[in-house]
Amino acid sequence: MATNESKLSTARVSRRAFNKGVASATGAGLALGSGIAPAFAQGKRELIYGMWGGAVGNLSPVIRHDNQAGILIYNIFDGLVRPNYAKGTIEPWMAEGWTNPDPLTWRVKIREGVKWQKGYGELTAADVAYTFQVHFDTKSWQVNTSYPQVESFKTDGKYVFEVKLKQPFGAFPGITIGYGGMIIPESAHREMGNDTFSLNPVGNGPYMLESVIGSEVILAKNPDYWRPGLPHMDRVVVRSFPDASVRLQSLLKGEVDFLTHPDNKDVPEVAANPDFVTHSTPGWNWDYQHFNLSANQDMAYHDKLVRQAISYAIDREAIKNEIYHGQATETDNSIPPGFLGHRESLLKYPKNGDLAKAKELMAQAGVAGYEVEVMCSDKDWLRRELELVAAMVSQIGINYKIRNLDIGTFNNLWINNHEDFQQMLEDITIVAPDPHATVFWFLHSEGSVSSGYSNSEVDELLENAMATSDPATRAGYYHKVVDQTLEDCSLIYHVNANFTRVHSKGLEGFEPAPQEYIERMDEIRWKA
C-alpha cells in the first residue's frame, strides 16, 4: 500500500497557529481559522485548486517540466500505463496490454477509440512512435531516463507498438512506457511545433487546457474523454500560492477548495477540522546523506564502519517529529512503500538510533572523530534537518561544518559530482514507479547519479534485476541490494516525507498519489 490516508477527527480548529505564525518572516503558521466550507460551491462542477510554487509553464510531456507542470500534464494527458498505488502494480491505461515475446521485444497494444482533444483524431500506435521519435530527435531528458535500453521501435498496424531493446529490461512497463509513456498527438505537434505545443498542449486526458495567465491555469472538461461520465468537474482552476500558510488560510476561507503542501506544522490542526479532509500520504522520496566517495580519499567517511556509525547515530524519529511534525516515515533504505521490493521502512537501523553501537563502530574503525563539510541547498527544512543531524553525529565525535548553498550552486556541485564537495544532505522525489529508478541510478557504479559507490556484487544484482521480468524474482534481487547497501551505507536514508493534501469535506473521489507531480482530478467531485 502506498497510501496512508488519514481522515481526521472532529475537534474544531483554533486560531492559535496563526498567532504563532505571525512572528515568522514568511507567514509560517498562518491561521487555522474556523473552517468555513465553501458552501457556495456545493453542487457546482468547478474546483479551485491551490497549488504550491509560482508560475507554471511548459505543459508538453516531451519537454522537461517541473512538478507543478506535471500536475497539469497528468490531467491533460493519459499515459500508456498507470500505477495502481493501492496494489503496487503497473496497470494498463492507454496501453491495453503488453507482451514480451522474447527478452528483447515488447509489444504494446494501444487502446482503441481514444480521441485526442480539440478534434485531432484518434490516438494510435503511430502517435506513440512519433512521441518516442521526438524524444530522440530533441535529445530530451527521457532518452537517458526512460529509453536508455531502447534499440528501435516501430508500429505494427494501427494499434500495436513494438519496441526492441538493447538488453533485457524488466522495468519496461514502469519506466519505458510508464515514466516515459506520456504520448502526444503527431498531427497537433507537427502543426504547432515543439514550443507552441508546450503552450497549447493537446492531450487525451480528462481535462483540456483552457488558459494560462500569470500563475493561474484553467482546465476545462474534455467532452470526448474516453472514460464515460468522467471527469466530474466542468472546470478546474489551478492557482499557485508560494506561501504554504496563506495557501492553507485561503482554503479555510473558502477561496480554494483543495490544496497541496500545507506547512507540516499546521497539518495536525487542519486534520482535526471537521470541515476538511486531510490526506497525508508517504511520498516516493527520501531525505538522505550522500558521501562523495569518488573524491576526498583521506576522509574518514570512506570507511564503511564510520558510515554505519553515522547511521546508528541518527535518531530518525526525531527528524520525523522535529522537522516534519510527524508527517513522514522513518526509513533506512532506498525502496519506499508502494514500490516493488519494499519490505519494511526500517530494516536495520533503529528509529531512535543506537549511540552505543555507533561509538563502538567508531572505535572499531579507529576514528576518534573528524571534521567534514556537509552542504545542503536553500530548502528551509533541509537546513534545519542538517543542523539536527549535525548535533546527532557530534555525539560520536564527528563535526559537520554546514555549508548552505543556493539550489543552483548546490545542484551544480553534486549532480556533476565535483571534487570540491565532501558530503551533502538532500531530498529526492522519485519520478518513475519502479525500483530500478530508486536503486540503479543511485547505487550502480555506473548509475547516472552515483556517489562514487562501487560494489561489484551490488552491480551484478542490479543488472540481474534489470534483466528479469518476473516481479517476484526482481523483488528478490532488490532485497539483496538493499541488504548490501544497509551494510555499506553509501547513502544514509532518514525519512520518506509525506505529501499532504487537504480539501473541503464536500469533495469526494480523490485518490492521493505518493508522487508529488500526480494529482488525479478525474474522479474528484462534489458530493450530491
Binding site: G57, S140, V246, D406
Partner: protein
C-alpha cells in the same frame, strides 16, 4: 537649456543607461554559480540533452556573443523565452506588468489618501497632539516591515473579520463576481505595500507645508482677510505639493520594484515574484527581460518627475 532640450538629452541617455543596466545584470547573473539547463533538466540528464538545450538558448556561445544576440533580439522586439517555463518572456511580461501596475496604483492611491490629509493637519497644528499623533503614525509606518504588516492585516481583516479575501489578484475566477470581486483582493496588499509610502509622503508634505506656511505671501494672504481654508488649499498646499508630486512620480516606479514580499504573501502573479523565481532558477532571459522593463519604468517615471517640476514651478529651468 530649455525643457525640450533637457528632455531630448534625457531620452538620448536612456539607451546608454539600459545597456549599462542590462549588461550589469547579465554579468552578475551569469557570474553566480548554477547552470539553468541542469537546474531545468535535473539529475538524470545526458550530456546530449544538456547540449541541445544550451544550443537552443545560445548558452554554448561566448558570453559577449550571448549578450549581443540578446540585445539584437531585444531591438527586434523579441525578449526570448523562459528556459524553465518555455514561455515567451514578452507574454509573461504582459500578464505580470498589468498586475504590478494595478497593485502599485492601488497602493499609491492608498498612500495619497492617507498622507495628504495627514501631512496637512500635522503642519497646520504643528507641535500639538494632532502633529504628535500624525508623526507617531509616520514613524510606525516607516518602522513596520511590510511583510509583518501584511500578516497582521491578513489576520485581522481576512481571518478574524472576514472582510477581505487573502488572494485573488490576477485571477479570473475570484468568487463572488462583480466589481467587488475585482477590487477586494487589492485592498490588503495595497495597504501593506502603501503604508510606508504614507509615512514618507506624509512627512514630506508636513515639512514642505511648514516651510510654505512660514512664507511672507501666506502672511499676506491672511492679512488680506482670506479664509484660512482658502489660504491653506489655494496658496499653501499648491506650493507645498511641488516636491511632493515629483516624489510621488518617482515612488510609483519604485513601487514596481519592491513588491516581491507582498506578491509572495498574497500570491500575486506580479513582476517581482517572477524575477525572484527566475533568479533562483538562473532563468537568464526572464531576469534580463524583466530587468529591462523595470529599468525603463524607472527611467520614464524619473523623466516624468523632472518634467513635472517645470510645470509645477515655473522658476525651475533646465
Amino acid at each position: 537649456m530649455n525643457t525640450l532640450a533637457y528632455l531630448a538629452r534625457r531620452i538620448v541617455q536612456i539607451p546608454v543607461v539600459l545597456i549599462v543596466t542590462t549588461l550589469t545584470i547579465f554579468i552578475v547573473v551569469r557570474a553566480t554559480p548554477g547552470d539553468p539547463v541542469e537546474l531545468m533538466l535535473g539529475m538524470q540528464t545526458s550530456p546530449d540533452a544538456v547540449q541541445a538545450v544550451r544550443e537552443k538558448f545560445h548558452l554554448d556561445k561566448p558570453l559577449y556573443q550571448q549578450y549581443l544576440i540578446w540585445l539584437g533580439d531585444v531591438i527586434r522586439g523579441d525578449l526570448g523565452s523562459s528556459i524553465r517555463l518555455n514561455r515567451p518572456v514578452s507574454q509573461m511580461l504582459g500578464e505580470r506588468l498589468i498586475v504590478s501596475l494595478q497593485l502599485a496604483t492601488a497602493a499609491m492611491l492608498f498612500a495619497l489618501l492617507i498622507s495628504i490629509p495627514l501631512g496637512i493637519v500635522a503642519a497646520i497644528w504643528r507641535n500639538t497632539w494632532v502633529d504628535y499623533g500624525a508623526t507617531g503614525y509616520m514613524v510606525l509606518g516607516f518602522s513596520i516591515p511590510n511583510f509583518a504588516l501584511a500578516l497582521i492585516l491578513i489576520y485581522v481583516f481576512a481571518v478574524e473579520l472576514d472582510w477581505f479575501p487573502i488572494s485573488g489578484i490576477g485571477s479570473s475566477t475570484s468568487r463572488g463576481g462583480g466589481v467587488w470581486a475585482f477590487v477586494s483582493p487589492f485592498i490588503l496588499p495595497a495597504v501593506a505595500l502603501g503604508t510606508v509610502q504614507t509615512a514618507y509622503f506624509g512627512r514630506l508634505l508636513r515639512s514642505s507645508m511648514i516651510d510654505v506656511l512660514g512664507q511672507d505671501y501666506i502672511r499676506t494672504a491672511h492679512a488680506k482677510g482670506l479664509k484660512p481654508a482658502v489660504v491653506i488649499a489655494v496658496h499653501a498646499l499648491k506650493n507645498a505639493m511641488i516636491p511632493f508630486v515629483t516624489m510621488v512620480a518617482i515612488h510609483f516606479g519604485y513601487m514596481i520594484g519592491i513588491q516581491i514580499t507582498i506578491e509572495y504573501i498574497f500570491a500575486i502573479p506580479g513582476m517581482g515574484l517572477a524575477v525572484l523565481t527566475a533568479v533562483v532558477n538562473r532563468d537568464f532571459p526572464v531576469v534580463q527581460g524583466f530587468t529591462l522593463v523595470i529599468a525603463i519604468f524607472f527611467l520614464v517615471t524619473n523623466i516624468i518627475a523632472d518634467v513635472l517640476y517645470t510645470f509645477l514651478d515655473p522658476r525651475i529651468r533646465y
